[in-house]
Symmetry: C2
C-alpha cells in the first residue's frame, strides 16, 4: 500500500424522501442560491418542484441557470458564472447527474475570481475559495456528488478536460434512488458502465502489486454495479436495485477506491473524452466501446492482474493466468452487450479511418493529464482493437 | 437498503513517515495542546519523541496527560478534563490506540462544559462544542481514529459505557503502520479480532435482507483482517501486513460499513463490555471468547445469513444453509485459536458460575444501549455456550 491522504467532507443524505432536506442544507450556507440544472426532465418528474419548494420554504432566493447539457460546455459554464456574479449568488445548488454537478463545480470555482474559468482546467490558476455547493443527484454514474473532480468540454478547442481540487467537494449531496426512476434503460446502463470504468481505471493502472484491501472493495463494487444494473433494467422502478446502483456508483469514485494505490491513470477516460469531444457520444457508451479493447491491450503487460479480476469478479478459477484474463475480458464485454452498451467503435458508427484524428486529440489531453506513456502510436493500436 | 446519513469529516494521513505532520495539523486549531497518551511504550519506540518534536517545531505549547490505561477509566478522564480546563488547552492530541483516543474524545467533550462528563454517557447531556482532536494511531483495532464513538469505564459503578456524537470525529488522524511495529503478537491479534467483531456486529444484526453493496464491503474487510493479521504474526515488522491491517481496522467502523443497514446492534460488544468491566480482560480477547458462542446462538434464527458469511469469507459452497453456517462459525473459531485469541470463558479463566453476575451487568448496559431483546435469560444462554 502506498501513502495517501483521504479527506472527503461531503455529507450524504441517502434514501427515499430525502429531497425536501435540500432547502435547509443549502441555506445553511447562504440564501442567494444559483440553481443549476439540465434540460427539463426534472420538471416532468417533479424533482424540480420538490427542490424549489424546499428551497423557498427555507427562505432561499433562487436564481436559475438551466440548460446544462450532457458533456457540459465551457460557454454555458461562463454564462453561469456571469449570472452568479451579477446576481451575487453565494451558494450553488445542482440538480442532476455528473454533467450538471460538474458544471456547478466549475461555476463555484469561477464565480469568485476575475480570470476566465478555463485557466483552472489548463493548469494556469488554482482554486481558492469557491462558492459552497449542494446537490440533488438524478443519475447513478459519475460520483461527482461525492468527489472533487469535474470535466468540461471547450467547444472552441474541442477539448474535454477535467481536474480536481480538494475545495470542490460538495458540502451536501442528496441521493434519493427514486429520483432515478425515470432514467431510461440506455442511460441507466451507461451510468453503470461509467461507475465500473472508474473502478477498472484504478484496478488496472496501479503500479502497486499489493493492495488487497482496496482490491476486494473494488471487486465488490464492480460485481454490485453489474448485479444492480441487471435488476434495474428488469424493473426500472425497483427501489432496491436503484439504491444499490446509486450507492455503488458514488463509492466507485469518492476517493476511497484509489486511496493507497499510488499513482493511477485514467487511460480509458482519456480516450473516451476524445470520442465525446469529437462525436458527442454519451460518456458511458464511449467508455464501453473502448474498455474491452483497452483491457486486451493492457492484459498483455499484466496478465496476473487480469486473471485476478476474472477470478474475483466472474469466478473463473481454472486455466492459466492468460486464459483467465481473456475469459474475464470476454465476460465483461458480453455483459456490456447484454445491457446494450456499445463494445466497439463500429457500434458508435465511428469509422476506423478516424482513428488517427482521435489519437491526435487524445495525445493533447494525455499531455495535460500527464500520462506520457500514451503516445499516438499506442492509442492508435488500442483503438484498432476497439 | 435503508435511508442513512454518511458524513465523516476526519482527514486521514496514511503511511510511513507521516508522523511529523502532526505538529502543523494540530496547531492549525490552537497552540495550547493537551497531549494524551498511555503508559510509556511510545517513549520506548520513539513515537513520543517524533510527536513532541513536531508539535514544538510547529509552535505548540504542550500540556501532558499521560497514563491512559487499556479500558480507560472515568477518574482519569476527569483528571484530564481538569488539566485541560486549568491549563486552558484549546486542542487535544492523542497518541495511542482506541483507549487513548476514546479518553481524548471524552476530554474534548468534557473540557468545555461545567457538568460532569459522565452525564454524556448516561444520556443526561448532549455534546455541544468539543475541543478539536488530532490523533497519532499506534494500534490497529478500534477505528476510533476515524469515528465519533468512545467507550469509558466508570470504576465506581463498574459500568463500561459508550456513545457517539457527530461532533467527536477527530479532525486529523495520522496512521503510520510503522508505529504499530512494536505491538506484540497477542495485542496485534486482539486488534484484528476487534476489527472483525465490528464488522460481524453489523453483518449479523441488520434487519434489512438486501444490502449487497455493504455485504461485499464487509466480507472483504473480514477476509483482509484475517489475511493481514496472519502476515503480521509471521513478521511483526512487515510493513505491508501492518498497513493492510491498519487500514482494514479503520474502515471497519468508520460509518461506511453500517451506512444503509438500518438499525444494528452491538450484542457481542455489549456482553464483552461486561467482561472487561468485571475482569479487565483485553477487549479483543473478551470478544473472541464470546463471538463463536454468540454466532451459534444467533445462527439458529438467521441461518441463511450465516451461510452467506461462510460462502463469501471461507468459500464454503456446499451443504445446506445450516451446515454451511456451522462450518463458517467453526472456521472463524479455529482462526481465533490459530492466532491464540481466547474462544471461551474458560480460556479467560472466568468460571461458569459467574454467568449470572455477568448477565446482570450486561442487562444494565443493554437498557442504556436500547437493546431490549437482550434480557438476562438470553445472555445467560449465550454465555453458557461460550
Amino acid at each position: 500500500m502506498q501513502n495517501f491522504v483521504f479527506h472527503n467532507p461531503t455529507k450524504i443524505l441517502f434514501g427515499k424522501g430525502t429531497i425536501p432536506a435540500i432547502g435547509p442544507e443549502t441555506v445553511a450556507f447562504a440564501t442567494k442560491v444559483l440553481l443549476v440544472y439540465g434540460t427539463g426532465s426534472i420538471k416532468r418528474n417533479g424533482i424540480y418542484q420538490q427542490v424549489t419548494d424546499s428551497l423557498l420554504k427555507a427562505g432561499a432566493e433562487i436564481v436559475e441557470h438551466p440548460g446544462v447539457q450532457s458533456n457540459p460546455v465551457l460557454s454555458h459554464v461562463r454564462e453561469g458564472i456571469a449570472l452568479a456574479k451579477g446576481q451575487k449568488c453565494r451558494v450553488v445548488c445542482a440538480i442532476g447527474g455528473g454533467s450538471v454537478i460538474d458544471e456547478a463545480k466549475a461555476i463555484c470555482a469561477g464565480a469568485v475570481v476575475d480570470h476566465d474559468v478555463w485557466k483552472f482546467f489548463i493548469g494556469k490558476k488554482s482554486v481558492t475559495s469557491p462558492l459552497p455547493l449542494t446537490t440533488v443527484l438524478t443519475l447513478a454514474a459519475s460520483s461527482s456528488e461525492m468527489n472533487s473532480g469535474m470535466v468540461i468540454t471547450n467547444e472552441e478547442t474541442r477539448q474535454k478536460f477535467g481536474f480536481a481540487n480538494k475545495k470542490l467537494y460538495p458540502q451536501t449531496s442528496i441521493l434519493d434512488p427514486e429520483a432515478t426512476f425515470t432514467v431510461p434503460a440506455d442511460y441507466t446502463a451507461y451510468g453503470a458502465v461509467d461507475a465500473i470504468a472508474h473502478v477498472l481505471e484504478f484496478y488496472f493502472t496501479t503500479q502497486d502489486p499489493a493492495t488487497p484491501v482496496q482490491d476486494r472493495f473494488m471487486e465488490g463494487l464492480i460485481i454490485n454495479a453489474m448485479e444492480s444494473c441487471d435488476r434495474v433494467l428488469a424493473d426500472l422502478n425497483g427501489y432496491q436495485g436503484r439504491a444499490d446502483l446509486m450507492w455503488t456508483a458514488t463509492l466507485a469514485l469518492n476517493g476511497l477506491t484509489a486511496a493507497g494505490l499510488g499513482k493511477v491513470g485514467f487511460p480509458m477516460h482519456l480516450i473516451e473524452h476524445s470520442l465525446s469531444a469529437l462525436y458527442n457520444v454519451p460518456h458511458g457508451a464511449g467508455l464501453s466501446a473502448i474498455i474491452p479493447g483497452w483491457m486486451r491491450h493492457q492484459s498483455q503487460s499484466t496478465p496476473q492482474r487480469f486473471a485476478r479480476f476474472a477470478e474475483r469478479v466472474f469466478d473463473f478459477r481454472n486455466g492459466s493466468p492468460e486464459e483467465r484474463a481473456q475469459k474475464g475480458i470476454d465476460a465483461l464485454e458480453e455483459w456490456f452487450q447484454k445491457i446494450h452498451s456499445p463494445t466497439s467503435l463500429a457500434d458508435l458508427n465511428i469509422p476506423k479511418q478516424d482513428i488517427q484524428q482521435i489519437a491526435e486529440n487524445t495525445v493533447a489531453l494525455a499531455k495535460i493529464w500527464r500520462i506520457p506513456d500514451y503516445d499516438s502510436e499506442r492509442i492508435q493500436a488500442i483503438l484498432a482493437g476497439c
